[in-house]
Symmetry: C2
Subunit: 275 residues, 2 copies
């Protein structure tokens, strides 16, 4: 077992809420993700603005994935002492612009000097109805994902080889499917964002529901193992397929069918995507 | 201006809530602090259990300081890959024991591999009445702090010189004044925990209220500049002095008078305490 999961498992005994993208308490959903230099990004790949923006987006993604409306953010920012005031302004602008784009108010946090740029964001969201979780998959349910996946891994390879990617690229600025999830949320059986890669996240869905997957067609490994896509992985009953397709068209969301849930299990065989 | 304050200031324009130990939204108080290796502690100073426990306590302190009741915690744990499963268990036990001691449920979080052990904790607290903030100081108010301060800095010097400190020491296991604050909260004008040092935190109180301080007696610098005490700095009107003293005696809380608030300003002259 992966060391990270081992550690998380130590807290699982307390309650089973840990495992979803966020934790629901009453009508609030809480989510928290780390965005660390040399774990999730390298500083030569992204400008301070882009780092700030993406640190927020990967966190907002958890709220969107649960069909909750992000409202407040708390920041934890550890910054290298070598960062200039101009770079700090840029970083803050990236964070503030992402907050503004999603209607989030930054209410507090902590800032320290550190050897590298490590950001932690907590998002407080509100939900008025059903949240989307990883639980609920039934045999025969259709599994699908939004958008195109695989580009993030390809962009990551360029970057690691010393190349540059466009400032509007998926890796730099992930696009969240907020409108699509808001429209389809009540028809979906379960859902999560594809943060660790399609296969990895299918594995989590499979484990959470003790189900296997009958794939419609073979998904190539470079595509299935591409992490940090921030597209949505969803499941819905076959009877809802037409509704989902209609709402996908309405919100201009490309939708690709992966297969159907069945008895059995599915194990992810990708390597961990953190470098 | 310190780089950290510069960065925090970039968010101050959004709303003024940033500045207190936590942010209040309705009947909830949110606080978030970082507890990073080589910034707040060195791994040879504390066992993994002690690191986990203290990471929680320094965060719970913010909730206690605002007279809110901590309820839920979200963790962000970045761990070196060299940590053994046994060390992870110990770390998790420290976190869980602190949570248990204060009746907190751990509801989620994120774990990653990293070059060092960096922990971020978000505490969600509840408040049914008045929260204690840094605002409200009036001329003539009595300023006081709980317990003894100065020991944490002395212990830190021992540790930095290669020495060891007792596992029940203040630096290893800060004691929070939860009961005292719960009892006195409604009589206090303002309050905060002494996390950066008495002088530093008096400076923040002075700035937040545009007031100076008439010291009752001179406080030696090694004492006033000692950080990470996690005692409470409070202010109350002279008419409440007897009540506060009675409640301090009831809760066995040593209380020391610093002086009185007056017109003017007070500037902290300690060096930043992070090493």
């Amino acid at each position: 077992m992966n060391a990270e999961y081992y550690f998380i498992d130590a807290f699982r005994t307390l309650r089973t809420r840990i495992g979803d993208d966020g934790a629901r308490i009453g009508n609030r959903v809480y989510s928290k993700d780390l965005f660390f230099e040399n774990v999730h990004f390298k500083r030569r790949w992204l400008s301070p603005y882009q780092i700030g923006y993406k640190a927020m987006i990967v966190n907002i993604s958890d709220a969107v994935a649960m069909n909750a409306i992000p409202k407040y953010a708390l920041l934890g920012v550890a910054m290298p002492k070598s960062m200039s005031l101009h770079q700090m302004d840029e970083l803050a602008d990236g964070i503030k612009d992402a907050a503004c784009d999603y209607g989030i108010e930054i209410i507090g946090g902590d800032t320290i000097g550190n050897v590298k740029l490590d950001i932690s964001v907590t998002i407080v969201s509100e939900t008025d109805g059903r949240t989307l979780t990883r639980q609920g998959l039934k045999n025969g349910d259709i599994l699908a994902y939004t958008g195109r996946i695989g580009t993030s891994a390809r962009e990551l390879r360029y970057l690691m080889a010393g190349g540059k990617v466009h400032s509007k690229s998926r890796f730099v600025r992930p696009r969240l499917r907020q409108r699509f999830i808001q429209k389809t949320g009540r028809h979906l059986r379960c859902g999560m964002d594809i943060s660790d890669g399609l296969f990895s996240d299918l594995g989590k869905l499979s484990k959470a529901n003790a189900k296997g997957i009958a794939f419609t067609k073979k998904i190539p490994k470079p595509l299935g193992c591409s992490g940090e896509e921030y597209e949505m992985l969803i499941a819905f009953p076959p009877g809802k397929a037409r509704t989902i397709r209609r709402l996908a068209a309405l919100t201009r969301t490309p939708l690709r069918i992966v297969g159907r849930a069945k008895r059995g299990k599915f194990t992810n065989r990708c390597k961990a995507h953190h470098f």
